[in-house]
Symmetry: C2
């Protein structure tokens, strides 16, 4: 068993998942990916998502992939019977804040009941190491900055954020009841950028929910103008300040967490951010520089629920995981731009040449 | 459709559920009960729980009953296809605080995913009126007394209480997304007592988790002594003070809530309590009087998580539901004692004569 390196990656065909799968292979792990591509149009051959084929190109290795919905308990049980996992990295879930307000039942069902099915299988098959994709959204409105892991949680107001908070609480209770489990809750700040190869990246369907994919689509001419929500925040330039983190740094944070759970750490919580705040206009300028294009924007009203500034205290992850972010704003923008220009239609772009 | 009086009652074979089914029939409704009797040993003939047969004796009417687990979505869907419900009263769930700490996955699965299955079916079959069994436990440690419905919620620490809180939050989000839904969250204080007939009552399996069934078992000689957890609280006699409410009053609160949801009330929250606090020793003396037996007790250490006093502000239910509790401590004790003496083995007692 000591040379078993088999890791289950739920949602491993998604944006953060796919980058993590690459780093898992780089670190000598054997990832098994499940994904039902609920968040993406399938750009696939033989039922394999486009991102998986691209990962295989990057790592020059076949990736084990199954089209499994976490709500399909029987399929999940079969998977656990077939593979002997040493740990699970759990990315799968619905993730659009606005949509979660429209269809809360689906969000709670997929995110919470999907997670419960997963941990039921883990318990049955004695897989006791789990790394969970949580989010800085669990902090709600920051009471102080930078936000550390002891900041109060649970005041978020949309079903997406609440589902992350509820899962955190459920996992805390599981950690108390199952003494041999090791669980790391990773609270992501704002992942941006793409793998250096330009082969994988964020591929939002329809109008992007997040700033940077939208900015990139304006830069490439797919959208005419960026709307910036709020120009009168108490920030250096009045626009909202966030902690953007390069997705490859974020992926490497998962490798560090995976090493940590193997040391029998119990339940731990870590912010994954850079600790630096950049404004919307900082990011726009970064993308203008990376792309060489002018990015038209207009300042519009603030959005309900948005805050002026949010960025992470990152010393805990540095101390306990030995991990910190390395990639700066320039690299985030350059890598995003490379992905955008090589794949104007995302994974549907024919890149087989 | 105007004469449709068909109400789905989940968990309708349980303690509060069975008393509510009686009052539903009394009020002219047609209850359809589902229950998988997860909280009870089945004392049943032909797969029908003992409590259902007893309800039929009380109301002199056949009760429609199905053995359905809320986690069995297909069975639930069939049920909704077969019956045309005007509203749902949702009692079903796991309910033992201590057990919830031991097996949190089961508690979250049954309580949350069961509820999500139910509301998915309600949405599919356009049943938009729901009365949900919540609990005063969602308030956590009281910040002031009496506790009103605006008291902060969510600080409870055990999976049972958290599952109630999470379901409340989920239902709030569903209420926002589904504009035509009417949802009432009923926060129960401490239900005790039994139906006047002595035919139905609380039938705990194993050691009772709640005070009064334990006290009744001491009175009848099934247990030798009561342990009172904490005699040094800041209360008149040092023992914990709670808001005990007669289960028939509680049941009638559900009839009032059912009338309210039919007025298109949106989402509402009501405490169901008496507004009066009684100490453990008050209750012991009440049972001594009702039973004519001496109830031996000893004071032991406080239990983790217990508070000194907790009782409800009840004016909101009085004003908006036109409901208030009528039955006093004496009646609670007398009715409990009647149930206990007529059914020393609960529903397993042969009472067919």
């Amino acid at each position: 068993m000591s040379d078993n390196k088999c890791i289950l990656v739920t949602g491993g065909a998604g944006y953060i998942g796919s980058h993590t799968v690459v780093e898992l292979v780089n670190a000598g792990y054997d990832p098994v990916v499940i994904d039902n591509c609920a968040n993406a149009v399938r750009a696939s051959e033989n039922g394999r998502p486009g991102s998986i084929k691209r990962i295989e190109k990057i790592v020059d290795k076949k990736i084990i992939y199954y089209d499994i919905d976490l709500l399909n308990k029987a399929a999940l049980d079969d998977l656990f019977a077939k593979h002997s996992f040493i740990a699970v990295i759990h990315f799968a879930g619905l993730k659009a804040v606005g949509e979660s307000i429209e269809i809360p039942i689906e969000y709670y069902k997929v995110n919470i009941c999907g997670t419960l099915n997963l941990i039921e299988c883990m318990k049955k098959y004695q897989v006791s190491n789990l790394v969970f994709s949580s989010s800085a959204t669990v902090y709600g409105t920051p009471q102080y900055l930078p936000i550390d892991e002891n900041h109060t949680v649970g005041s978020c107001t949309n079903p997406y954020g609440k589902s992350k908070y509820f899962i955190e609480e459920i996992l805390r209770d599981v950690g108390k009841a199952e003494k041999d489990w090791n669980i790391i809750l990773l609270r992501y700040f704002n992942p941006v950028g793409s793998h250096k190869s330009g082969l994988i990246g964020e591929d939002p369907q329809g109008t992007p929910n997040n700033l940077m994919p939208y900015v990139a689509q304006v830069a490439i001419g797919r959208r005419s103008q960026l709307s910036i929500f709020g120009g009168d925040y108490d920030t250096p330039d009045g626009t909202g300040v966030r902690d953007y983190i390069h997705v490859v740094d974020l992926a490497l944070g998962h490798i560090a967490a995976l090493k940590k759970v193997s040391t029998k750490c119990g339940l731990k919580v870590y912010n994954l951010g850079t600790g630096k705040g950049y404004s919307v206009l900082d990011m726009v300028r970064g993308m203008e520089k990376a792309s060489g294009k002018k990015i038209p924007y207009k300042i519009v009203d603030r959005r309900d629920g948005d805050v002026g500034s949010c960025y992470a205290e990152v010393t805990l992850a540095q101390t306990e995981l030995g991990w910190k972010s390395d990639r700066n704003l320039e690299e985030m923008c350059e890598d995003l731009w490379r992905w955008q220009t090589k794949n104007p239609k995302g994974f549907q772009t024919d890149n087989s040449s």
